[in-house]
């Protein structure tokens, strides 16, 4: 990461009433407030929308270089604070970088139609924003037990015995089945998704490779994790290279790529 203080263009957060615009390097980590602020984002789209709104930018004509820079500053900030960074944030960073580079290239004009590299991103942002707003409106509706209350009067009559709910054995079996099915479904999901954090994967890779020996690149991609696992592993490798913790070696063109720990060279 950078050696200088990270500067963000407008206050990141208010700490004890004072606007916080930069994060000092030798941070005594003050910022409970900052952490809460950063954790309020519901994902990369939400963070991007925030940045766009804050700068009063036109969502249909996003200055991509500027937004990308700010986005990356936040990502760094989150890392700085050791917040668990979901893989989606890094994928978005990659997407922004790609759009940025495509904006620099002359646009291919095919059949008279010009494709703006930002179009897909804009579409997703607008779409997400609508539902973000829909959720707020939903929450503002009168809710039973919060805003309005079911009225209930006592109706216990001398002559009438109120029947108790009936349950059949079949219903009981189905309820058992449902409970187990849901438990199984979610456990399954849980195992698949949740552990895939980039930081964690970086540590795993580091523990697998050695400085005195080359490890085959492909062996680092666990087959059973599917596409999401590949992405996380790939992001972890990029991060390790960026931080000069590993090196990649390829002897022949199109040959097998090998990875080894950089620690032997750096001391």
């Amino acid at each position: 990461m950078t050696d200088t203080a990270i500067t963000v263009e407008s206050p990141i957060a208010k700490v004890k009433g004072e606007a916080l615009t930069e994060l000092p390097r030798d941070l005594y980590i003050p910022p409970d407030a900052l952490e809460i602020f950063l954790e309020t984002f519901e994902g990369p789209l939400d963070l991007l929308l925030y940045l766009i709104k804050r700068e009063n930018l036109d969502i249909l004509d996003i200055p991509i270089a500027r937004v990308t820079r700010q986005y990356l500053e936040y990502i760094d900030l989150m890392r700085e604070l050791r917040l668990e960074l979901a893989a989606e944030y890094l994928l978005m960073a990659a997407m922004l970088a790609e759009i940025k580079s495509r904006m620099l290239l002359p646009r291919p004009v095919e059949a008279g139609e010009e494709q703006d590299p930002r179009a897909e991103l804009v579409r997703r942002l607008l779409e997400y924003e609508r539902f973000k707003q829909a959720a707020e409106r939903l929450d503002a509706l009168p809710q039973l037990g919060r805003d309005v209350f079911q009225a209930l009067a006592e109706a216990r009559f001398k002559s009438v015995t109120r029947p108790l709910p009936r349950v059949t054995l079949d219903e009981l079996l189905r309820a058992f089945n449902d409970a187990l099915a849901r438990a199984a479904m979610y456990t399954h999901h849980h195992v698949q998704r949740d552990p895939l954090s980039v930081r964690e994967r970086m540590s795993q890779i580091l523990s697998r490779i050695r400085a005195d020996r080359f490890t085959e690149f492909q062996a680092l991609f666990p087959r059973e994790e599917g596409r999401c696992g590949v992405v996380v592993t790939f992001l972890a490798l990029l991060e390790l290279i960026k931080e000069s913790l590993i090196e990649l070696v390829q002897r022949d063109l199109y040959g097998v790529i090998h990875v080894r720990s950089a620690s032997a060279n750096t001391g």
Partner: protein, 214 residues
């Protein structure tokens, strides 16, 4: 025949004793054949009851599963003092997921994740199902046969809605200029919530692989 005041009183008694919304069918079934009012009489009596409540703390409201007598929102500050725990506040993640299911039903979990740009915690889907606000209405015919979710009558009851058409209108997409023609043609942008929840859910179950409702 019964006079209007008696009909009204019987309806009020039943609605307050039930402690849950009652459909017009259930209300009519309270009367034996000889005394059963016509549907217009029933509606007139409900209207009368509604008027009676104008100066009171109560209101008669039609929600997903029928008519409900409820305490008006203005009285929430006092009524809430009855209970120690505050009403639960739902997270943005949960509300956004629920909004997507409400407006885009039937929808799969992956489709929700696609729009939100993040994975959905399992606990959210669980909470929504446990509250009986959503249910599985079928499976999409693609590999993995993912479950299709839709909202329920209980969802409407909870949010004080008669039907999905009462949901707040979804914001329009901003007018896009010629530089972004693809925005207008994006597939799958439903501007309006589906109009008829029941038919909607039924259609979903029918056209896709069906699963019995609970």
């Amino acid at each position: 025949m019964m006079d209007a005041a008696t009909i009204k009183n019987i309806l009020e008694a039943a609605l307050l004793a039930a402690g849950e919304p009652l459909s017009e069918e259930r209300l009519l079934a309270l009367f034996n054949e000889a005394e059963q009012p016509a549907r217009e009489q029933l509606r007139a009596a409900l209207q009368q009851l509604r008027d009676d409540y104008a100066a009171r703390s109560l209101e008669l409201r039609e929600v997903g599963s029928g008519w409900r007598i409820q305490v008006r929102q203005e009285f929430a500050p006092w009524v809430a003092k009855l209970w120690e725990e505050r009403a639960p506040r739902y997270s943005r993640a949960l509300l956004e997921t629920l909004a997507l299911i409400a407006y885009r039903q039937p929808i799969t979990r992956a489709e929700i994740e696609e729009i939100r740009g993040v994975t959905i915690a399992s606990s959210i889907m669980k909470t929504l199902q446990e509250r009986e606000w959503i249910r599985v209405v079928g499976h999409r015919d693609v590999p993995g046969r993912p479950a299709l979710y839709a909202t329920t009558r209980e969802f409407l009851d909870y949010f004080n809605l008669r039907g999905l058409e009462d949901l707040p209108t979804l914001a329009e997409l901003p007018a896009t200029d010629a530089a972004h023609p693809e925005l207008e043609t994006s597939p799958g942008l439903a501007e309006m919530p589906p109009a008829q929840p029941r038919e909607h859910a039924d259609a979903a179950s029918a056209s896709l692989s069906t699963e019995p409702g609970d």
